[in-house]
Symmetry: none
Subunit: 194 residues, 4 copies
């Protein structure tokens, strides 16, 4: 049991931290493509070879850096009120996306999908899906409580909510301060008059 890594010199956990931090910083400055292991290593006061002791590839490092970045923020508390909880979730989502490199990282993952699918996979598994599942659960429970129409396609509803941010960001449109409230109202009520 726990046979791994008992012999030899133990890893410096502080070095782990420095590497991830340096990677995140580089990521925020120029995205995945501009991030170079050389620069990360220099910034972390170590060498490329040492990074490769920890990560199999640039993509793996970045993936771990992303997980590390999100590990900090806890999830918001829920109230039981659908509208309120949706707004809270979207506010949280928005806060995590408004960091300078979020869209760049997601973009890198999409761009590198063929070459290094791990990046996108990691992102989905640790970041995107958890948010989606949270919203999904909120809506699912509301549907059970009959607050939502029975024919509502919940996955699609989630994509409306989250996707709105993506669409605005991709188009370069400003995202209004009260975006969560506006969006939740509009998604719930629909566009049609009456």
């Amino acid at each position: 049991m726990c046979s791994k890594q008992l012999r030899g010199r133990p890893r410096q956990t502080e070095l782990d931290r420095r590497i991830l931090e340096a990677a995140l910083h580089q990521l925020s400055e120029g995205g995945y493509a501009r991030l170079s292991l050389e620069n990360v290593a220099t910034a972390a006061h170590t060498t490329r070879a040492t990074i490769y002791l920890r990560y199999a590839s640039k993509a793996a490092l970045v993936a771990d850096a992303i997980i590390h970045a999100r590990g900090v923020g806890g999830l918001p508390k829920l109230s039981g009120n659908l509208r309120q909880d949706l707004v809270t979730q979207l506010e949280h989502f928005r806060a995590s996306m408004d960091t300078p490199y979020s869209m760049a990282i997601i973009g890198s993952a999409l761009a590198e999908e063929r070459a290094t699918p791990e990046l996108l996979a990691t992102l989905r598994e640790h970041i995107i899906r958890s948010r989606r599942d949270m919203l999904h659960a909120l809506l699912h429970e509301a549907q059970i409580r009959n607050e939502l129409a029975p024919q509502v396609h919940i996955d699609l509803a989630v994509s409306q909510l989250v996707g709105s941010y993506y669409a605005l960001a991709i188009a370069g449109d400003p995202i209004p301060p009260d975006w969560p409230e506006l969006l939740v109202d509009q998604v719930l009520s629909g566009l049609l008059s009456n």
Copy 2:
């Protein structure tokens, strides 16, 4: 006016075409990062230096290739019926996004935003905005006709429609065949029961 390019040997327009085609093909195979000018040049039966006569950088080439790619498809006809026209637009949008490299290209543009903002700018100007404006116009006219509630935030509505695709694609969820119809119904009607 049109003072440019009257002197000197004229460009071989067929070479323009070959370069752009090769670039698009490379783009579809491995995304922006994997695209190399060397390979593009070889595939276009020319040399890197000749490509640099046309484009100042890899990013500029790719940006132009993207414009070129979309130039082919015409826009769909409209019927005047809101639901029908929204579905038609989304079907068209979906068709253009389901090409193998679309999300990768958008991702590359997002990833490279700091390093080479032209790429994202070009994409927005020529691809993303035109679609957004079309949907915006559709909804705006419907609002004037009182088909939509007066308080509807049209930009946000557009982001719900288009963003749904982005969100599903980013999450890796399959996009159902009747996505346009399902989505339009749900966006127009809202999620709430009654």
Copy 3:
């Protein structure tokens, strides 16, 4: 007869001059290798293509430029006195070699011998041989007049005189102001005591 170049627009002889001048200037700045037709063309307010109307290659241009450069200086008068005439010749030789690019040009010709033998051939034919022949004639006549020992190898004697300059220049040694006199005396008298 004189069938060449009667029809069509005549060449601008002033352009010939500008090209050669520009070539010589570039040659003096950085030698053959650093001389680029692009820069020569620009400096002569013309284009590479126009230069190629006159010269088949970079080497041919440079060869002509060299001939042009030497065309200016006339040959020195002779007095009939061997020692005096040798000194005069060497002074003239030295003056023509002390221009900043002379050794560089000869070096270029040697360096490029395999690739473009015309350069070295032209140099030999127009510059080097004429000087050699002049010295050869001087010594030959002196030998007939019995001023020189009958067993003297005249070609070798010429090589001692001219070669002294080359050897000093190649070694980077300073060439003394009275080099011609010192050398002629030493070559004529020999090194041995008595």
Copy 4:
């Protein structure tokens, strides 16, 4: 002291050798200008980048290759007899210059003097000066022994001996098989009758 190169993976000395050998071979085939790092790298079974780890530029590589080339040949033994030792030295000099690329390399160094003075400096320091100093010493000792006239300018005498080769080579004249003997006799005895 010797603080250099104790850490890190040591250089493959055999690769050093392969690179220098490839460079010398390329040099002999086409001179400095035709030598390309790409071809050197290929011939040495390595890459340009690896060559640049060792040498800052093409010129630096070639300079080192030249030093390496001469390192092989030892210097000839001396007898104490002036005429004999001069002949021996010149035979050795001639042998080293009759390799196919010697004049081309010296020519390249002269041609590149402005652009890359290291090349000529290296050549002088390692090749040319050592020969010159050897001859200088020979003549100097002879002068002390009163074999040479006291007014003899020794540097000039060396330049007569060595320069003769340069002059013949530059003029394209054939160098007679008994050039060392002929030249030494003529330099020592002078040209004048009696």
